[in-house]
Symmetry: C2
């Protein structure tokens, strides 16, 4: 049996966990199109700004996204690009199942 290092599992799991919340996933989904500022993401998910900020912190820590401050706004962009492939894949699997 292929034995994977526990560290790798823990680290990978952190990434999946970060994607495992509807708001965070929706934000990442949106970021697949290109960078967005926090206010745009807030509008997307409709939660309190502080909540959105904390969600983004989770994604940042998992290194799924990166942030850059320009002027008064902070822009987030997708850092782990293959996430986009994951999302498509899961969505396709769900659509197939639904049919």
């Amino acid at each position: 049996m292929l034995m994977a290092s526990p560290q790798l599992m823990t680290h990978s799991a952190k990434i999946f966990k970060a994607l495992g919340h509807p708001s965070r996933l929706a934000m990442v989904h949106a970021l697949c199109e290109g960078e967005k500022c926090v206010c745009e993401l807030q509008e997307l998910v409709g939660s309190d700004m502080s909540t959105v900020s904390k969600h983004l912190a989770v994604l940042r820590e998992a290194k799924v996204v990166s942030d850059e401050k320009r002027g008064m706004q902070v822009y987030y962009s997708l850092r782990m690009h293959c996430v986009s492939t994951f999302i498509d894949c899961v969505e396709n699997a769900l659509k197939e199942e639904a049919s």
Copy 2:
């Protein structure tokens, strides 16, 4: 901005969430090679049998794995095959980062 349905996000997030635990991810990782019975998976993660069973229930509910009882044992196998691609992708991203 591409607008995704909240239902789809919630459903997809559930799948990512299911993968977002080191033990569950390790089990799914192992199942990429082929079906395994619960006792093999227990040995892999080293937790209490009941804990393993509950983790498997989470994966089952998310439809990431399927179960089949044969004789006295229950065999689990990967149902959402693209998960295997995800894991490779994340692992590669992590390895690149480490280097």
